[in-house]
Amino acid sequence: MNENEEKIYDLIGSKSFAELTEDEKTLVLESLGSEELYEKMREANLAAEEVLSENAPPPPEMKDAVMTAFDEKDEKRGIVWWKVAAAIAVLVVGAFVFWPSGNLDREPIAENVERKDSTNNKEQSPEEKQETQEPEGEAVVEAFKGENEVLGEEAGNAIKASDEVVRNTDNMLIAENKSAPIDEEIMEEDHTFADEAPESDNPTAPEMEIEIAEDFEGTAEAKKDVQTKPARAQDLSADDADSQTINEFSMSNMKVESARSTTRMQSDFNSEGALYEGISLKDIGGYKSKAYVAY
C-alpha cells in the first residue's frame, strides 16, 4: 500500500486543491498527475455519498414477520424456563419425600416392635413393650432354628424316609382299617400336643413320643381310655394290655407323625416344584400315589 495514496484519500475528503499546502499539492500532482483529476475525485466522493445516502424504506410486512419470530422465540424461552423450574421443584420434593427412607440411622425394627406390641399390649409402656418383645423374638428365632433342624434331618434322611414313608403309610392304612377309633383319638391328642408345641422347646418326634408315653402312663384317665379300646386289647392281661397299648400308641403316633411329615414334604415339594433342601422329588422316586402305596 502506497502511503501517498492513503494521504491523498484523506485530503480528498477534507480539502479542496486550493486549500492544500505546497507539500500536499506536490504530493497530489506527483500521484494523480493533474489538479483536475483531484477535483473530479472530490466531486465523485461527495456525489457518491449523496447518491448512496438515499435509502429505500424496508418492506413494512418484514417487521411483522421478524417480531413474530421474536415472540415465538421468547415463548419457547419461557417454556424452557418453566420446564426447568418444574423439574427442579419435582427433584426437591422427591428428595424431601424419599430421603428419610434411605437414612440408615433409623431403627425400623424397634419401631416395628413397638407397633406390633401396641396392638397386643396397649397398657404397657414403650420400655416394657421393647423388653417383652425381645425375648419373644428370640424364642421365635430359636423355634425357627429348631424347625429348620428338624426339616434338615428330615431332608437328610429323605431317601431312607421315602421307603419308610411308603411302609408307614401302608401301616397307617392298615391301622386305620384295624383300629380307627384309637387312631382318631391319638390324632386328637397329637393335635393337642402339636398346638402346645410352640410353647415347649420344640421337641422332636422321638422326644414327643417319650413325653406322650410318660403322660399316658401316669394318667389314669388315659388308661381308662385305652381299656375301652377294641377287643384285641381286652384279651391281654391288665399290665400286658397297658404296655401293649402304650407300645401301639407309640407306634401309631410315630406313624402319624411320619405320615404328617410325608404329607408336609409332599406339599412342599409340590408347591415349590423342584428342590427341597437340595433334594428333588426325582431323587426319592417321585410322588407315590395312594394306589401305588396300597399296591
Binding site: M1, N2, E5, E6, I8, Y9, D10, I12, L32, L37, K40, M41, E43, A44, N45, L46, A47, A48, E49, E50, V51, L52, S53, N55, A56, P57, P58, P59, M62, K63, A65, V66, M67, A69, F70, D71, K73, D74, R77, G78
Partner: protein, 186 residues
C-alpha cells in the same frame, strides 16, 4: 431510561434477554440500513434484499445471546451482512441473474446517459460501475459512502486492513472520476 437513549449495544443485550421493545428498537434503527445495504450489494434485487434482511434479523433472534457487547453492534451486524453477501456471490445462479439484470439496466440507462448530464445519470453510471467491482471493493465503497462507516469500522466489518481499505477507496474514486469525468453530479 427510554429505549431511544440506550446505545445499540445495550439494546441488543436487552433484546437477547427477551426484551421485546429493545429488539423492536434495534429493528427500527437497522432494518432500513441493512435493507439498503443488501439492495446495493445484491444488484438492486428488492426481493433478495428483503429476504436477506429478514434472515439477518432471524439470526439475531436465534443467536442474539452470542453477542457479548464488547464489539460495536454496527460493525457486528454489518459483518454478518457482508458474510451473507459473500455467500450469495458464490452462487453461480445469482451471478448469472445479476449479469442479466445488469445488461437490462445498462440498456435502459443508455439513452438517459447520452441525453442529459444530471444527477440521475450520474447515479445510474455510478451503480453500473459499482456492479463491476469485486465484492470487497463494493462492500467497502457502500459502507463508506452509504453508511458512513469510518475506515476503522470498515476494517473491522470486512476484516480488511485499514490501509488496504483506504487504498481501495482511493482507486475506486479515481476510476469513477476517470469514467464519469463527463458527468457533473452537481
Amino acid at each position: 431510561m427510554d429505549k431511544g437513549d440506550l446505545t445499540d449495544e445495550a439494546l441488543m443485550i436487552r433484546a437477547a434477554k427477551g426484551d421485546r421493545r429493545a429488539f423492536e428498537g434495534i429493528y427500527d434503527r437497522y432494518a432500513g440500513r441493512l435493507y439498503n445495504y443488501f439492495l446495493k450489494m445484491l444488484y438492486q434485487d428488492e426481493e433478495l434484499a428483503k429476504d436477506q434482511t429478514q434472515e439477518l434479523f432471524m439470526k439475531l433472534v436465534e443467536k442474539g445471546h452470542q453477542y457479548d457487547g464488547t464489539r460495536a453492534f454496527k460493525t457486528y451486524v454489518f459483518s454478518i451482512a457482508n458474510n451473507m453477501c459473500k455467500n450469495i456471490y458464490r452462487s453461480e445462479e445469482v451471478k448469472k441473474r445479476a449479469n442479466t439484470e445488469l445488461k437490462i439496466e445498462s440498456e435502459l440507462a443508455e439513452p438517459e446517459k447520452v441525453e442529459s448530464i444530471d444527477r440521475k445519470a450520474f447515479k445510474t453510471a455510478l451503480s453500473e460501475e459499482l456492479e463491476k467491482f469485486d465484492s470487497d471493493r463494493r462492500s467497502i465503497f457502500i459502507l463508506r459512502f452509504k453508511h458512513q462507516l469510518s475506515i476503522k469500522e470498515i476494517s473491522e466489518t470486512t476484516g480488511v486492513a485499514e490501509g488496504t481499505v483506504k487504498s481501495k477507496l482511493f482507486y475506486t474514486l479515481k476510476k469513477l472520476s476517470t469514467q464519469l469525468v463527463s458527468f457533473n453530479p452537481k
